[in-house]
Amino acid sequence: MSFLKLAVKNLLSKPLNAFLSLVLLMLSVALVTLVVQVGDQLASNFKKNIRPVDMVVGAKGSPLQLVLSSILHIDAPTGNIDLQEAESLSKNPLIAKAVPVSYGDSYKGYRILGTDTTYLGLYGATLTEGTLFEHPLEVVLGDRVRQALQLNIGDTFISSHGMAETSLDAHESHPFTIRGFLKPTGTVVDNLIITPLESIWEVHDHTGEEAHETTQEAHAITAMLIRFRNPLGMVQLPRYINENTNMQAALPNFEVQRLLGLLGTGTKMINAIALAILLVSGVSIFIGLLKAIRERRHELALLRIYGATTLQLLWTALLEGLLLAFSGCVLGWCLGRLGLWVFSSHTRSNYGYSLAQPSFTAEESLLFLSVFLITVLAVFFASFSIYKLNISKTLSDE
């Protein structure tokens, strides 16, 4: 029968009090861990994906939408631009690389991206199996697409228009053939089906009455991804393009910073709420313990008669608080990770992004430390009466 066991029994003797404190602790820990993880992972995910691209040129519209659609592939495109006009840009000496991208079709929710092989170079994507595409209607699959679709090299599939998983508007006359699989890169490439630009034109080059209309804009692309030769491009080109062409230039780094800034405000808000809940749970531990110690003063005096020192009684109270804090942290952390998993499966099905489930992080140990600190403070303030306990008086009053 140790003091630890006594602390456990004491805690369980007031299950409702313990439950309330535990739920509050759990909630605040879960919220903080979830928000920090989501924020960090989105930021690092975005930054990793935009790093190879200095500037995007696309149709006029929202620059953020242009970046989200053409680099991160989580939004609809702003429109199309003329390939020739875009290519004329790439002759500019300030531009090191210009990669055309064109999309709008998908297969089972995975985007089909029309581009050339330089796109793979941007993300350092190489083949694990098979060959690169050489002709229109040949594709290579990103790693996550390969895992999800379970297709083999040589297999064919029919794309559907837009992002619908089962589309009535399937392009049945133009089946795609799988030529190769890419290594996992940890970037957007993993979620893409990549094909030459010409495939997109061919698929949309409908036969019949619409033919003439659509061939007009056949040589259009959605956007051009640009890498500058030197930083001067950053200063001159966006302005030049926005003022002198029908196209729009957007700087991914700037746009993503702006987006993260917006998200950051929300994150800060949720963190503040979580902190408030944490403080309330500290107060709840304090009140619960204060009440318990007051009710138990006869028991505490009795334990002192048995030979327990004031320090041992304080230790028992502290153990009771720490037990709560520990279980709150562990359960809250698990709840946070569960939330992350739910969030991740949501983003994966909607945007093709999934979030990692990291093990215990350094930031979280800091959070746990502050939970323990708050608990120790709550116990400290609640245990003053243990210090002042007058055994003789306590045990002689009726």
């Binding site: 029968m1 369980l12 009795l302 008669i305 009726e398």
Partner: protein
């Protein structure tokens, strides 16, 4: 070197014991000498300082002047921590009202007392003591479920389970009828004898008077 002169037969001894409350009320107590294994009944009407005397003897209250020595140790001069330890090991007290750790069972109450007082558990001692006191079948019960008589017996067990040198009882019979009064006093005497402990009963209950040979009237 001269040997220290201590009468090893005298376990409990007081000299010129005096205590004053903050409100100015002062008590002076006659000197006590209780040899090993002896029993003493302290009789007095309420308000004469019976409970105060018991708390002084048990080291729960600091003396204003005078000394209390138990088994050769002057409990007024040792440190607070030493006193906690000493009290735990050598003294057992039965209070007027029974106090237990409510979140624990009968057995766990006895175990934690042993653990705190002697830093080890002795289940054999617990079982034998509880069998004699007739509460062995209650060991797994929560203390809140005990009847008044069972509570009193558990109090006796808790005061004796760590084999103290001195057993104090404060009004142990005040709520009992004549039959139970005698049963409880006999139990206390018997258990004190078995443990070879001094028994000091403090009461205003005249029924107990005939059962003791040593009396101190306050």
């Amino acid at each position: 070197m001269l040997p220290l002169i201590v009468d090893v037969n005298d376990v409990l001894e007081t000299q010129k014991l005096r205590f004053s409350y903050r409100n100015g009320k002062e008590f002076r107590f006659p000197d006590l000498v209780i040899p090993q294994g002896e029993h003493l009944l302290v009789l007095g009407a309420s308000g004469v300082g019976k409970t105060t005397l018991l708390h002084l003897l048990a080291g729960l209250l600091p003396v204003a002047s005078g000394t209390v020595s138990i088994d050769g140790t002057n409990i007024n001069t040792i440190s607070r921590k030493e006193l906690d330890d000493f009290r735990g090991r050598n003294i057992g007290i039965i209070f007027q009202k029974s106090y237990f750790v409510k979140s624990l069972t009968v057995l766990e109450n006895l175990q934690i007392r042993q653990r705190i007082s002697t830093s080890k558990e002795d289940s054999d001692r617990i079982l034998k003591l509880c069998e004699r006191l007739g509460i062995a079948d209650l060991l797994r019960k929560k203390v809140s479920l005990l009847s008044e008589g069972q509570r009193q017996r558990l109090s006796i067990a808790l005061a004796l389970v760590h084999r103290p040198k001195v057993l104090f009882a404060d009004e142990p019979t005040s709520n009992l009828d004549d039959t139970n009064c005698e049963v409880v006093v006999r139990l206390l005497q018997e258990e004190a004898r078995l443990a070879n402990a001094n028994l000091v009963i403090i009461t205003h209950d005249q029924r107990v008077k005939e059962m003791f040979t040593n009396h101190l009237i306050l």
